[in-house]
């Protein structure tokens, strides 16, 4: 048994908010730099150069790289041997978000009711996913999810007959219709299988993999490579102004599904990909 105080969770979450929003991950920077070398469009190269310059400003001056500091999404992996003491886990997480977004001068972008739309004023509540796993660690992953790219996400319940081709067509068509709106170059998270709801969670988890990494399953990895190639043939390019870099990466997460179903979800992430993980 190992005890973790919820105060430590609050402090950790607060630091994750600002770390993620100011300092883009090395995997993302490497991916953008690689895209800059391959991009054929002069305007596309100019855009990517500005994004890299912007990332450097964020890191040097400790300011948000994008003004949409996002919906706070928290993934918790709680070891079975951990006992939480001090208070309610959800409360502790939301308090961390509250502090992080206030002290870190991040934007408050959440409205309480989707119809009335009054701002909650503190960027809470977070969307929290919890998994109980073996062990005695607590892993916290923070993701600042921008609204623009999230809005371009789609899901479908395909028929088994539509198969691999149907999945490819749906993913590519989703990116094609999104066009310039999600702030290309994008990262495409695909959730394949599970149930209607689980497929969208898979797609979100897919986004959080190291940028450009391939699925360990060879069939799925080949799907990822094929999708990335097709998407970059669309010519949408950086900021939709035309070019070869529409997507930096396609990550597919897969799960068993019903004999009658082929759920597929596409969660779009922009190039301001802000995620940090800490293990307590």
């Amino acid at each position: 048994m190992r005890q973790i105080n919820t105060e430590q969770i609050t402090d950790t979450v607060e630091k994750l908010c600002t770390d993620a929003n100011y300092n883009l991950g090395e995997d993302l920077i490497t991916s953008l730099s690689g895209a800059l070398e391959k991009e054929e469009s002069p305007l596309g190269r100019e855009v990517i150069t500005q994004l890299l310059e912007n990332a450097e400003i964020g890191r040097k001056e400790q300011v948000p790289v994008c003004q949409d500091t996002g919906f706070a999404i928290i993934f918790i992996e709680l070891g079975q041997e951990v006992v939480l003491a001090g208070g309610d886990l959800r409360e502790a997480i939301n308090e961390g978000i509250r502090h992080g977004y206030k002290n870190g001068l991040l934007r408050k972008s959440i409205v309480k009711n989707p119809i009335d739309r009054i701002n909650t004023g503190d960027n809470t509540p977070a969307v929290i996913h919890t998994d109980i796993v073996p062990g005695d660690k607590l892993k916290i992953t923070f993701d600042a999810k921008g609204g623009g790219c999230e809005n371009m996400s789609r899901s479908a319940m395909l028929t088994p007959a539509q198969g691999r081709e149907g999945v490819i067509d749906f993913v590519v068509e989703t990116v094609r219709t999104a066009g310039a709106n999600p702030c290309p170059p994008i990262i495409v998270g695909v959730g394949l299988g599970g149930t209607f709801d689980y497929s969208t969670l898979l797609a979100k988890r897919a986004i959080l993999r190291p940028v450009g990494s391939n699925n360990k399953d060879k069939t799925i990895a080949s799907l990822e490579i094929g999708l990335l190639e097709k998407i970059n043939k669309l010519g949408i390019g950086p900021q939709g102004l035309g070019g070869r870099t529409t997507a930096l990466a396609v990550h597919v997460e897969s799960f068993p599904c019903h004999i009658a179903s082929l759920p597929v979800a596409v969660n779009i992430e922009c190039h301001s990909h802000r995620t940090k993980t800490v293990v307590i």
């Binding site: 948000p64 003004q67 043939k233 900021q239 939709g240 035309g242 070019g243």
Partner: protein, 186 residues
Amino acid sequence: MTEYIDLKTPLENSTIEKLKAGDKVRISGVLYTARDAAHKRLIEMVVAGKDLPFDVKGQLLYYVGPTPAKPGQVIGSAGPTTSYRMDTYAPTLIKMGLKGTIGKGSRSKEVIEAMKEHKAVYFAAVGGAAALIAKTIKKVEIIAFDDLGAEAVRKMEVENFPAIVVNDTAGGDLYDIGRGKYTIPL
């Protein structure tokens, strides 16, 4: 690389009509800001016959909701938000004399037609280059809807704010032109 065209607000039709899709511009002068929630209120005011918080004639509207400013900063990070969400509202303001909007992502047919008819253009700023863009903003004040926080209407003074013409008054569309150049048939 092609040169920038320097623009100083307020803008006249003669300047607007010369702009072509793909022109890179540097804007100096005043930009007004509004996004989803503010637009809803602005249009309600128009429908109710009330005066708007600012005169749109000759002006440019920037779709942005900035982060709070650090001590010593004029404004926090301030890149564009996605424009299509303001498509239902834009034609009304364009008809009233708004000369341009700045955002990112495609506009609807109705907005494009309104821009052609009433001589306005649509500029894109680089989405996500929010810290970089903020450095061109020299002065900011909230002029309406303070309660909306990041979504309040602001009056900004900018110097060499970088943007690119996406839709011009002749029907040119940079998103179409750009994609057309780089699409490889599947």
